[in-house]
Amino acid sequence: MDNFKFEVVFPALILGRFLLALAPLPDSLKHDHQLTSPLTAYPRLQEGLYLFSQGIDPYSGGIFRHSPLYLAIFSTAIPLTKLTTAFLWTASDAVSAWALVRIWRARQRLSSSSRDALIATLYLINPYTFLPTLALSSSTFENTLLLLSVMFASEGQTSPSLLALAFLSQLSLHGMLLLVPVLLLLITDPISHLAAPRPFSASFKTLAFPAGEFFVYFSVLTFVSTLVCGSWAWVEQSWGAMVLLPDLTPNVGLWWYFFTEMFDHFRPFFLMVFSVHLLIYVLPLCIKFQHDMLYVVFLMAGVLATFKPYPTLSDPGLFLSMISLFPETYPHLRHPLVTALLHLHSALLLPLFHHLWLSQGTGNANFFYASTLVFGMSNGAALLDSVWSGLRVAVGRVPDGLEVVQE
């Protein structure tokens, strides 16, 4: 791969992806439970836009859960047609891949490297990211905004980074979880310090201004959303859904089945537990990896991909593609082949058990749930191994016969 020039590979792949997006694809793709979630599905977006254009509140029915920002953009500036959607979604992936390459360059302090082509390719041909794009899932945009925010943060551009993060948090509330690592990344540097950990040196006082800036952006966007919608109804339907889980349409995550089986009087408690569970990762990761905030962002992407309420395949896709940014950890991975095989198994089992349950009728919901558990395991294995190897880089190569123990 090193032999290929980034300048050739990148446009060629994007062209290929664009043609693929234009190809006549089965409509069922857009309804697929693995590629879209109730919060990101394209048919729901179309439904919301139609209701909006007819003067009906799109948030009144429980179908439309996208942010009002989508309504604002797609009902005025960009009408959704076959051509524009293909262009928009492919462009979004192209920007993501480009951002990933820029993050890599910032981390290496290089203006270009032989690894650029590989990194872009791994994002653009990763089936977990490009299948949701073909299904026109809006999770593609969320990935792009996350990568843009991290890219600007790595390059030290505070305002664009915070703006991108504010947009991301508008579209998906879980973007907020990245606020702390992104802010810390802004006041430190993206260069790899995994091999030589050091205490956090920057002054926390400098955080106050960027944090305030973020909340200004966020509030303005919230206000704009309310203006677009005409009321606050969208908050409960769109953000509320990420906490209250009103729609139990099957997806690749771990929440839906758990809550279909739950007695109603336990629901609030477990909703709280599941939501707080996502929160508790932020600080420990930031403390343990205080020397390398980019790595924290990467690990948080993995946490969200595994434990988010409404994930699509693009969330684990983003996490797995980001692994390409940290080649220094590869020699310290404990079980890369096992993780890869787990992912291979779950990538085959998910569509298969989905088919057995909903098309062929010989299986039932438990089959698909079992495959989402395998998928959860494979994401968990990748995440754990990343944490392990990220910490082990600092120890370096252990001589034969010795072992490292953490007390």
Partner: protein, 631 residues
Amino acid sequence: MHAIRQRIRNVLRGNGDRNATRLQRRRALGTLIWSRLPELRLLLLLVGFAWILLIPSPLLGQSTFIDENALHPGQVNTYWNWGDVHQADLYLAQLEQLRDQNATSKQIAAHVSEEFRKLGIPSATQDYVYQTSQESYNGTNAYAVFSSPRGSGAEATLISAPWLSHTEDALNLRGVATVLALAAFLKGYSLWAKDFIFVISSGQLDGMQAFITTYYGEEPSNLIAEPLTLPSGVIWVALNIDYPGHSFSHLGIFFEGINGRLPNQDLHNSVQLISRHTGGVPVVLYDHLDPRDQPWREAELSIIPSWVPASLKKMSFVQEYAYRAKNLVRHVGYQARGKASGVHGLLHRFRIDAITLYAVPATGPHGFHAIGRIMESSLRTINNLLERLHASFFFYLLVNATTFLKIGFFLPAAIILSVAMMFSGLYEWINAAWYKTVVPRSEEKTETTELTWVERPRPVLDALLVIGATHTAGVGLFYFITLPAVVVNHRIISPVLFIISLLLPLAALPLFKQTSPGASPLWQVLKAFNLCLASTVVSVTCVLNFSLACTTAATLSIPLIFSSPSTSLPLKVVKYAFYMLLGFGWMVFATEEVRSAIWHWELMGIWFAPFICIVYTPLVLQAALVSILPL
């Protein structure tokens, strides 16, 4: 008490440092597994194959039972009587006349449709043309829809008889006559809660395929079929009658659907019970009569080879084993190739639980009277359903008409072989990273040298590219052999294609020469990935189509596990030839099978042909490459 606890703790943790004991224990366990892995692998292979051989044994299996409480099979009085048998005889006489006149499919359909109309049941015909690369099929189906007197028409039961019998080259005249007489009979009762759809399909499979795909609006692009004019509801259950002979002695049940889907076992169990108790007809699987019931036909029916000593042959264990094995082999023959064992199998795709009732031809004693009663009682049972059949098993192996194996008793056979492959793959993966070498001890500057393990990088990307290339070549191969021009000239092109496939990997061999110095050889990583991939394919296919997974595991496990390169040229050639024959031999040695698989793919979308080309052959090709790559 405290002392005991302390002692247990000492045994578990040892007296030294806690972490040290933990690490020592972990190392000891790791070393144990690692050093025993080759033996473990052999053991797994042995257990896996033994399990496969154990499946037909009378030691396994349990009696079938009805799981859905609503069914109540055989609990009703039947009213089908000799008057209805006479009616069926009259229909038969008309049909025999049509046969003697060499009537076309269109004439037959018109006649049948007219007979339905005379009964006051709305009926119509459907012309269709199928275009496959080998030939085109055309025909005319006749169908009629009897609206239920008691239901909303949201659900329906399908009763069908194809014009051609499935098993022999005979016409299914009595089956068609039964359906017509049944239509006349069923109309006289007001207790039906579901519509009846009667279908007399033309040809063997093509007619029903045209009908059912049109019914569900999923016509394939190579089918031109008239739209259906009579609507009805969702079909839950279907019974297909195949009655080619004059009379019958047993009722045979065929149940395999396309792509390995099986109907809910409750349907089979109900019909089996009804046939035995209401119809008085013994039930067998397929047309396999039990040699123990027909001692005078033992030579013809039994599959025990003649060289087995007579004393063994007479043992009940051996006889039961042989009978079950015969049924299972037939089952695997259908399921592994994804073939439907009758017209019913085409319906499975649409979540219709369907079986074929086959009247095993004999000189007696049963005829229209028995089959009519069985059908009537079965339809009453189906009529009781409030939801789709779901309670009983979808994953099972029927070893005879009343005995079956649950999934837990047969799945391990394939899974254990798959685990053996997975372990070998992981073993090879670890092996590739280390090599033993002589490291001179520079500090001491003496002659003594020592063998030590040194870690080396593995060419992961190269191996992945090879795997990707072989599977892409498989896609190309599949595309090529399904081209109409190639299918027609199959006999000439196959040997040429085989020789090209034989030479192409050899021609590509120089590409693999350049591995970076110090890295592990490509073959080792390729073999590791090959085994892991094969294992994954087997364990994932298991739940979809056990027969296919098990056959693949049994075929691939030993050749793939023991693939290795060699230094001597003759050995290399022999190994390569073996793998190429295993992977590509079907092109020249099973031309009829290839033709049939392609036909099934084109007509019914059965994915056996693509599976072989895109999954199986590339896996073997990877093993072939392992055997010729530089050591």
